[in-house]
Amino acid sequence: MTARRLKAAFAFSPRRVAAMMLRYWYLLRSSWPRLVELVYWPTVQMITWGFLQYYVMQKAGFFARAGGTLIGAVLLWDILFRGQLGFSISFLEEMWSRNMGNLMMSPLRPFEFILALMVMSVVRLLIGVIPVTVLALAFFGFNLYGLGFALVAFFFNLMLTSWAVGIFVSGLVLRNGLGAENLAWTIMFFFLPLTCVYYPVTTLPTWLQPLSWLLPPTYVFEGMRALLIEHTFLPHLMLESLALNVVFFAAGTFGFLKLLQSARRNGSLMQTGE
């Protein structure tokens, strides 16, 4: 690869990233049902699990001590799930509107596209989750922001995982068309039992626990339980999660680029239907 070609391929333009963010912002603000949908499910989930926790706390001594673990898990799970969904939905908007050809033919670089999708996933997530955290405080007295610095570490690690998965799924959809769309909605549920969102890793069969520890969110949920039950923040868990996330993110990006290359070979960029 010549220096000129490398420079052209990796020339970063904040204006192109801003263009894509503007495109998604226009889209988001043009449709109130889209905005309502962002808040609706997290609210329903939080209220359901909140009442369940309230009931269990009255009956079981352990949960009485471990106040907030279920609501905390629900909110952190939503960060992971909604982060990936926010990324994937922005990407799918291009497929649904048959705009991918226009973008792939424009000077927009793949990593600028990915960066714009990452920023928009945070925007969508904040629109959906901030009102829910306020409701959790009002209804159940659970203050997510009371986690302080730990919340920043949890959030950052969960977002990294959600982006890595979102990037890889986008590559699959690009390569296989909208027939692979369902993956965007369901892939994160693979992580739900294995990352031990609602229970400690020790609950899993011994043979499954090593697999669980290979997934970065496991460390976040274990860290959250340690913080809420034992009032101890375990930084090593966050560092281990970060290290795994770097691997996941690199693998997701590599997979996306390879799938994009394959789509360019087999003509999927021209046919964005099923």
Binding site: R16, N102, G267, L269
Partner: protein, 251 residues
Amino acid sequence: MSVPPAIEVERLVKIYKREPAVDGVSFSIAPGSITGLLGGNGAGKTTTIAMIMGLLAPTSGRVTVLGAQMPRQRYQVLHRMNFESPYVEMPMRLTVRQNLRVFGMLYGVANLADRIEELAEALDLSDLLDRPSGKLSAGQKTRVSLAKALINAPELLLLDEPTASLDPDTADWVRSWLERYRRNRHATVLLASHNMSEIERLCERVIIMKKGRIEDDDTPARLLARYGRHTLEEVFLDVARGRGERREAAQ
């Protein structure tokens, strides 16, 4: 010193699952010219254009556009070219102005607001700028797609059926506009179309494709003379139905 071609295609092949969609196509297109790509459905026009744009990687052969090899060196030239095709659409929920703003930013257009106003005036879109793209008629959408294709004042414009859904009056107006744009900008235009009168009027050269190969390549006047026909449509039918080959064999 000779001027390098705007597009150079050498022994281009694209095979899908052992079926050749484009089979050994070679041609070069001079800067500032308008060339028509004619052919029936499945002739390989769209596949050829997609490889010229860098959207599709060839199985073998070589495409050079404005001096850059496609798709490997596409980022060196994508900002100097643009396209319009019925196979892609503008995001429907965004207004025309929002769409043009987004694409203008992607192409790094300077003085973007002025450029949008200029294009809106030229393509008669001023009253539509603040309407959602999805609520426009087919003809209006085509004009918006054309505005997107011209947002960066491209040196190379690739058009796939640019007047397909327009009424005759608007289609004629768009053709005149394209002729003027090509002349004023000294742009190179490659146009795939089924509309023979459009090709006859706009193009100084016609490449006829059939089953992934080039069947003929000449000026409209010479094609008419060679096939002994009065219109390109008749020439096209001769090629499509194999009558040209039979005539040549008989001669």
